[in-house]
């Protein structure tokens, strides 16, 4: 596996010299190539903005869905199960199309491409976030609730000050995974015209007819973006691990 990556890169480089490739289309030393590159990079803004907005909303919604799942009340638990099972069963692409084209018809409110994308991504991810939160909260020792009880903390304070800070620390790697997942899934919002990375690449391909080079750049853009995000998530985990338990 470790050998496969450099091998693939070398092949890519060598074949780049052959006549199958036409790197001129994104050659930064030429004026048109540089303009094309800038055009491709300009999608980064919406990819990041869309993903971050969606992940923030999905974390909040996920937590609000997870809490009833931990209740003693069976109706609240049933609500949690139903939500998770239903939302998890819908393909993201279908949800994006439904929210953008369908939802305005029943709600009567027009939704911008950006917010349709955010709603669809956040909704879809919230089911997974809910499961992550539930597992994280369940992993906290029962003694922590009992101790909170004996110092008279109510439910909200117990969650806010005692349980969630410990649970979030434990689920941070999983939350990082979801952020990476979200960045990748945001490419699907290109189908409704969101001007993010994938859409920009598609548009350039239509005018330049060089799908191989342009989509290769697109791959590298996602790769770089996600490596950067992973690096920061890992650093955050490390800094939070300093006050881990025993």
């Amino acid at each position: 596996m470790k050998k496969a990556i450099p091998l693939a890169l070398i092949t890519l480089f060598l074949s780049g010299c052959s006549d199958k490739w036409g790197w001129y289309v994104v050659d930064p030393t030429t004026k048109s190539g540089w303009t094309n590159l800038q055009f491709l990079f300009s999608g980064l803004y919406y990819t990041v903005l869309l993903s971050l907005t969606a992940i923030i909303i999905s974390v909040i919604v996920g937590l609000l869905i997870a809490l009833p799942g931990l209740s003693d009340n069976k109706y609240l638990r049933a609500f949690n199960r139903t939500y998770v099972e239903l939302v998890r069963a819908v393909p993201i692409l279908v949800l994006i199309l439904w929210v953008y084209y369908g939802l305005p018809q029943i709600s009567g409110i027009a939704i911008s491409v950006f917010w349709a994308g955010v709603i669809a991504l956040a909704l879809s991810d919230s089911a997974f976030q809910a499961e992550i939160f539930r597992a994280g909260i369940q992993s906290i020792d029962k003694g922590q609730y009992e101790a909170s009880h004996t110092v008279s903390l109510n439910y909200v304070d117990t969650m806010r000050f005692i349980i969630l800070p410990q649970a979030i620390k434990r689920i941070l790697p999983a939350l990082g995974n979801q952020l990476v997942y979200m960045l990748k899934m945001s490419s699907l919002v290109s189908v409704i015209g969101m001007q993010e990375l994938t859409r920009k690449a598609n548009e350039l391909v239509v005018t330049e007819y060089r799908p191989l080079e342009i989509y290769t750049i697109l791959l590298l853009e996602y790769l770089a973006l996600i490596l950067v995000v992973s690096y920061f998530v890992r650093r955050l985990e490390k800094s939070m691990r300093t006050d881990e338990r025993n």
Binding site: D141, G143, Q144, E146, A147, H149, T150, V151, S152, L153, N154, D157, F161, I162, P165, Q166, K169, D243, E244, R245, N246
Partner: protein
């Protein structure tokens, strides 16, 4: 010793509790007077922990009545809140909040539940840390402390809520032997201050020193209840004699 004429502050009347098919408490009745020090012992699974956990409603009893300081324990939030404010508890596993410093462990209850200002809560915390003899550890995290120190922090955390009753659930059972005494010393000091205490423990030296009343439980029942002199010298029941022989082997 003193205060024999004070009123009952805890009254349990025919309390029962099941875990599935297992009956943890069978019609248990017990009265504890204000300022009384009660030590409960008995083999594991005899219902000792369940008994004291019912007193602060960590376990809900199924039948019978429990009154704490005039409040009858039912399922209402009102009675639950009243009890939590009056009854402190120390656990076998300490159950400190690992992500908070010692000081924060002590101040969170007073600040959130008793609405003390941070400054007042800090003063209170340091006062009780002083009392359990570890004021210098205030800004450490629990994992940086020894087991004995952690348990003393847990005692201080409970005292910061200024309860009138303290429950101890095998407070020294999870400790290394050399740390047991530092925790017992704190408990002896607390017993001298007139606090109503119920301790589930097998530290019979401690029991002899502080207990007003000894209780022996077996199979979910109170088998023997007497003052320590009689309890250790001439227990009435056969089961209690047997148990004491086993744990007082030296």
């Amino acid at each position: 010793m003193q205060s024999t004429d004070s009123q009952a502050v805890i009254t349990m009347d025919r309390v029962s509790k099941h875990f599935g098919n297992f009956q943890a408490l069978k019609d248990v009745s017990l009265e504890v007077r204000s300022g009384e020090r009660v030590v409960i012992c008995g083999p594991s699974g005899s219902g000792k922990s369940t008994l004291i956990r019912c007193i602060n409603q960590l376990e809900k009893h199924e039948s019978g009545t429990i009154r704490v300081d005039g409040v009858e324990l039912d399922d209402t939030a009102q009675s639950l809140n009243a009890i939590r404010a009056k009854v402190g508890m120390v656990f076998q596993q300490f159950n400190l909040f690992p992500h908070l410093t010692v000081r924060e462990n002590l101040t969170i209850g007073p600040m959130r539940a008793r609405n003390l200002s941070k400054a007042d809560a800090d003063i209170l915390a340091l006062q009780y840390l002083d009392r359990v003899r570890i004021p210098e550890q205030a800004d450490k995290y629990p994992r940086q402390l020894s087991g004995g120190q952690q348990q003393r922090v847990a005692i201080a955390r409970s005292l910061c809520m200024e309860p009138s009753i303290m429950l101890f659930d095998e407070p020294t059972s999870a400790l290394d032997p050399e740390m047991i005494n530092e925790v017992l010393d704190v408990m002896v000091e607390l017993a001298g201050s007139g606090m109503t205490m119920i301790c589930v423990t097998h530290e019979m030296g401690f029991a002899r020193k502080v207990a007003d009343t000894m209780v022996f439980m077996d199979h979910g029942e109170i088998v023997e209840k007497s003052e320590p002199g009689k309890f250790f010298k001439s227990p009435e029941s056969h089961r209690c004699q047997e148990f004491l022989q086993k744990i007082l082997h030296h």
